[in-house]
Amino acid sequence: MLTCKEQVARSSDFLDGQLTFRERLLVRHHLMFCPNCRRFIRQMRLLQATLRIMPQAPVQDVDALAERLAAERRKDQ
């Protein structure tokens, strides 16, 4: 059986679908018996979802840039 430390070391690969079938079974088996690691993985997933929706810095001067690019395009025609 994996140790918790080994489970954590494989956690990103587990979440990204990078483990082999056998390795994935080992992780799942560990998670079945380890509430701490279940919590860890759950919170890792929550973190992924949080980063996904975290507001990004708005683009500065979109209008000016859009105007320049559109003009550049029309010049080429």
Binding site: A66, A70, R74
Partner: protein, 204 residues
């Protein structure tokens, strides 16, 4: 974005419609900046994005829709960055900078049996929306993202915020899959440590 949407937007872009460019910039500039940041570093990222935009406009008529518009834009950005500012990658990769709240490191586990010595702290919130309502935590997360090496933070942003596949990230940044996996994992553990610290202490 779906292929049909790409095609429609492309048509308007080719005509030089300003609003179409506004949509394009608003939607893709963050992802382009993350690619530029990873390859050229913070100092040159903005210049690279500017270069990339001009190259995009020039090459639009040649876009054949064999990849998605997003992939095409990011490839142009990566090329623009590589042609001007490719950094010495070996150093950057090995450079694992300290993060404001550390990471989930060896000290969290018992040296004897590899089990948790300090178990993960249970977070108070269980949805991303709830977590982000805490202004302080949001700032704290931004701060941690900025503390990561340029490559670590870009890989994390491209994967989580931009939803790119690992393989796409490898191709864009010319990194091996194992390097991308390592960068991503280290970055996630540091950000995890930040949220844990905040949830435990209520401060950044």
């Amino acid at each position: 974005m779906a292929v049909a949407d790409d095609a429609h937007l492309l048509e308007r872009l080719l005509k030089g419609e300003q609003r179409a460019y506004k949509e394009l910039v608003s939607q893709y500039q963050s992802a382009m900046r993350a690619v530029a940041y990873a390859i050229a570093g913070q100092r040159h990222a903005d210049e690279v994005v500017q270069d990339a935009w001009l190259s995009v406009v020039r090459n639009l008529p040649k876009f054949e829709g064999r990849s998605s518009l997003k992939t095409w834009l990011l490839t142009i950005t990566a090329n623009a960055a590589k042609s001007r500012y490719k950094q010495n990658r070996r150093e950057v990769l090995l450079d694992d900078l300290p993060s404001p709240h550390g990471t989930i490191g060896d000290e969290r586990f018992s040296a004897d049996d590899g089990h948790w010595a300090v178990a993960p702290f249970a977070w108070h919130q269980d949805t991303p929306e709830a977590l982000l309502t805490e202004d302080e935590l949001r700032k704290c997360l931004e701060h941690t993202l900025l503390s990561l090496s340029e490559l670590q933070s870009s890989v994390l942003v491209l994967r989580e915020r931009q939803g790119l596949e690992l393989e796409e990230i490898c191709n864009l940044l010319t990194l091996s899959l194992s390097n991308v996996r390592v960068l991503l994992h280290r970055a996630r553990l540091k950000v995890f440590a930040t949220v844990e610290h905040f949830e435990e202490t209520g401060e950044c």
